[in-house]
């Protein structure tokens, strides 16, 4: 206990230096913990999004299919359309349960001076495509009704029965989508036929969402479809998610490498700080040797200081990371628009413990040289000063 008190007291003697060193560790641990938490949240988010999708694969125009599919999922506009006539071939396949066109576009909202993201869907298929959705109101039953995502509704103070006008056509809000925690909250949903008319693309679709009767037939169905319908590409939802994962993977590796390099730089800071402390306290070390401390005791005291310093920094880093998770998430979402919806940075005690164990090891390693140096000090030379 006295050793611990001594270590803490010694660190407090050079408060500013200790604090700055701990801050270096805290920053790097915050980065490491955030990246690890983000990676975990990312995987969970992907799985969640896959579970929530009521379709098994998408038919998209040929080009870069995975990107198109992920963009469709996240509401971006693709300047390339499929002809809905391909649906005839799709629904003719025996294992297909249903196929539904999806049309995504941006429409100017003249009253609010902004552009809204509009998702055209078959309203009769809504319950099948978005099985987890809940509404305040009802699903549109006419071509001049629409659903508003919860985020848009709350930002614009929209409620059931309000009227919105797009391209000169008035729409009544038939329902407000209850908060899903996904990007679905940021869209306007209208019947696909109405949107096709507005866009003057009566047979146009950004993608066709397809559900098979049994998931086991998915591979067979997609293979057959790609062969019989020219000019299309088939992307399963798993492929989309894996494509998103791959997009993010290189970023993850790079950011993890940066975090580890930052920790190594901080470790050099700890070593430097501890070495300075050892040189400044040479006489005290000599005194401790004189009153009975062995070389091992001195080694332990200095190593304990390094460990306390890094653990303090590590704990602070985790607190910073948790406190700043919203900011980190916003920043990452801006940099990586294809990531899954929902909370990405969750506090995971196992990850926190793993980060602390890692930083403790770093602390021990960076404290070894100063501790060895302190243990080697000759008590005579030390006392003489």
């Amino acid at each position: 206990m006295v050793f611990l008190k001594l270590a803490v007291a010694n660190l407090r003697r050079h408060g500013t230096r200790s604090l700055l060193t701990a801050l270096g560790i805290a920053t790097s641990v915050a980065v490491l913990f955030s990246i690890l938490s983000f990676n975990k949240g990312f995987s969970k988010g992907l799985a969640r999004e896959l579970q929530r999708t009521g379709i098994h694969f998408m038919v998209v125009p040929s080009g870069c299919p995975h990107e198109v599919a992920s963009l469709v999922l996240h509401g971006s506009v693709i300047p390339k359309f499929l002809n809905t006539s391909v649906m005839e071939n799709i629904v003719a396949m025996k294992d297909v349960d249903f196929a539904t066109p999806i049309l995504v576009t941006q429409l100017p909202n003249a009253e609010k001076f902004r552009v809204d993201l509009v998702y055209g869907m078959e309203m009769s298929r809504l319950a099948a495509v978005k099985p987890y959705w809940e509404f305040d109101g009802k699903i549109p039953s006419t071509g001049n009704e629409l659903i508003v995502g919860s985020e848009i509704a709350s930002h614009n103070n929209l409620k059931k029965g309000d009227v919105l006008t797009y391209s000169g056509v008035s729409f009544k809000v038939s329902g407000i989508l209850k908060k899903t925690g996904s990007q679905d909250d940021a869209f306007i949903y209208m019947p696909v036929e109405t949107l096709q008319t507005i866009l003057k693309k009566p047979s146009g679709a950004t993608a066709i969402g397809v559900k098979v009767k049994t998931p086991e037939t998915l591979a067979k169905t997609t293979d057959e479809l790609a062969e019989i319908v020219p000019g299309i590409q088939v992307v399963t939802m798993n492929q989309v998610m894996s494509s998103i994962s791959n997009l993010a993977a290189s970023g993850k590796v790079l950011s993890l490498s940066i975090a580890i390099i930052t920790i190594l730089v901080s470790a050099v800071g700890v070593m430097n700080s501890m070495l300075m402390a050892v040189f400044e306290r040479t006489q005290e070390i000599g005194m401790m040797r004189a009153i009975g401390a062995s070389r091992a005791d001195i080694f332990r005291i200095i190593l304990k200081e390094a460990l306390i310093l890094t653990l303090f920094g590590g704990l602070s880093g985790i607190v910073f990371a948790v406190a700043g998770s919203d900011i980190i998430e916003k920043f990452v979402r801006r940099a990586m628009p294809y990531i899954p919806s929902g909370s990405m940075v969750d506090f995971d005690p196992v990850l926190a413990a793993a980060s602390l164990v890692f930083v403790s090891e770093v602390g021990i390693v960076s404290g070894l040289y100063p501790s060895w140096k302190a243990a080697k000090i000759s008590p005579i030379e030390a006392i003489k000063g």
Binding site: V2, L6, R12, Q283, M287, G292, K384
Partner: protein, 218 residues
């Protein structure tokens, strides 16, 4: 109790070889109070360090309770320092971040002894530091700091106290108090070897040795 036979100590100062101690013979008996005086650089502190097993002689033999220790491994010397020797320094060398109580317990911690709180408090009271027990060194006067250092030296119940100019940083009033404290400890059968520049205090020891150029001249 401690015997030095033909002790020599040489060390290098740059390329120059310095003979700090030359053929020192000394016998310190149990319960003695010895003062060592001499000009600066005469080898007083070097002698104290050899006596306290902090430094090894370059030549000669150091016997503690009849056992030659000059070639003992470092871990054995640590044991001797823990059990038999208490050091008091001119600069006190208290740990600034620890309270009086914790400073005094340090030797017990190093020697892995159980901390008998009551015993330490009694020692603190004996040295007139009762009110200062939870104070930090910076809150103490020079005299109080040296009393804490003496309490720290005594806590392991050593056989000998080696005091290196214990009054060197104190005014005459506090010097007198510290010396009286050492005298009272000596009366309780503790062996004391004190290095000092203060001839008046030195003359009041049982035996005064004068060291010059690494040799006893009186």
């Amino acid at each position: 109790m401690i015997e030095l036979k033909g002790i020599e100590k040489t060390y290098l100062r740059g390329s120059e070889e310095v003979h700090a101690l030359k053929s020192i013979d000394l016998k310190v008996s149990k319960g003695e109070f010895i003062s060592i005086v001499g000009p600066s650089g005469s080898g007083k502190t070097s002698l104290l360090h050899v006596l306290g097993c902090l430094d090894r002689p370059s030549k000669g033999s150091l016997l503690i309770d009849g056992v030659a220790v000059e070639n003992m491994p470092e871990n054995k010397l640590v044991q001797i320092r823990r059990k038999k020797i208490g050091f008091v320094f001119q600069q006190f060398y208290l740990m600034p971040g620890l309270t009086v109580f914790d400073n005094i317990t340090l030797p017990l911690v190093f020697s892995r002894q159980t901390i008998d709180k009551g015993k330490i408090i009694r020692a603190i009271e004996l040295l007139g530091l009762k009110e200062r027990i939870e104070h930090y060194p910076k809150q103490l006067s020079g005299g109080e700091m040296q009393r804490v250092a003496i309490a720290r030296a005594l806590v392991n119940e050593p056989e000998i106290i080696l005091a290196d100019e214990p009054t060197g940083n104190l005014d005459s009033e506090n010097s007198e108090k510290i010396f009286e404290l050492l005298k009272s400890l000596h009366k309780n059968n503790l062996t004391v070897v004190m290095v000092t520049h203060n001839n008046d205090l030195a003359s009041r020891a049982d035996r005064t040795l004068l060291l010059k150029d690494g040799k006893f001249i009186a």
